[in-house]
Symmetry: C3
Subunit: 132 residues, 3 copies
């Protein structure tokens, strides 16, 4: 059955919006997460490197709540608003994965949830299937 997993480290939105992590048939779907905290604000002045680290800490907390690990991620989609800073995103990502990285797309969109949000990352993972 479809199951929602949550973590205190990844604040859920108000009811009737979305779930951060939904699992069915061992496949976990992660919402596009941002660096906003529970108050709806992000760390003042956080750049792409810092925002990406905050986002993957949330993904890590959620996938561990679902019984998985970062190596279980098979796919990421990264939406940014300043693609010229993509190497900052890559640098932060490299702190969370090793070996064969997930498949990934990275594109620049015109706007994300707020002007202080430069990065939004969604993903798919197959729980327990990562080798590492």
């Amino acid at each position: 059955m479809i199951t929602r997993y949550t973590s205190p480290k990844a604040p859920e939105p108000a009811p009737e919006r979305w779930s951060n992590c939904i699992v069915s048939d061992g496949i976990a779907y992660f919402s596009g997460l941002t660096s906003r905290n529970a108050d709806g604000v992000t760390i003042d002045g956080a750049d792409e490197y810092e925002q990406t680290k905050i986002i993957f800490e949330k993904h890590k907390a959620l996938i561990e709540a679902a019984g998985g690990k970062m190596a279980d991620f098979t796919k990421l989609t990264i939406f940014v608003t300043r693609i010229q800073n993509n190497k900052q995103v890559w640098k932060a990502r490299a702190e969370f994965f090793e070996g064969d990285f997930p498949a990934c797309s990275l594109v620049e969109v015109s706007k994300l949830a707020g002007p202080d949000i430069y990065v939004e990352i969604e993903g798919i993972a197959h729980i327990g299937k990562g080798a590492r």
Copy 2:
């Protein structure tokens, strides 16, 4: 095997373009659907709330054709052209889901299929796995 599901409520494109709903291994993949009708036009003056309702009516017809229900959706990706109206999208979505909503990303892109199209929504569902 891979199977295409269709509904008279969700017009398919001309041949050799895309399929609205493809199912394999019980997982349904939905194309990015818009509010355009079979004539390729959308309701005159329809805003984000109205367009989103039209889109989810199509998703509902397609997933029911595939033997599923709206609660089977695990993931949505919502592309909009005016993200400042995201609450209108949320309001319409809340009329189609309850309990644990699907995981979701919502980003503003620079253009969709036409200037009258403000919303395009794709999704993934696991047929028969929703609790509701």
Copy 3:
């Protein structure tokens, strides 16, 4: 287990970035691929039709490396920077698929990996499940 598949026809990025094709549970996830060759440049003056053909040749090489075929694709997401040229993308795609095409979204984003890159395509396939 999660397995990475590669092909000499689809250059992989430097380590610690992404994998072009990751398979788990028979589901293949493809990174957003572009028309860039191993030197990081794309064919000079290539338009959407030519870029899309190069991209699907890469997808074809990768899915065949994974033991699959183009008919196994269930979903594509196409990011473009000039949506007014979408028919060129469709024309190239029609050379790689037949019958029931994959589900698909096509949106215009503000920027891709470089100014000469007009198309980026990611996808999901269920290996061996296509009828054709």
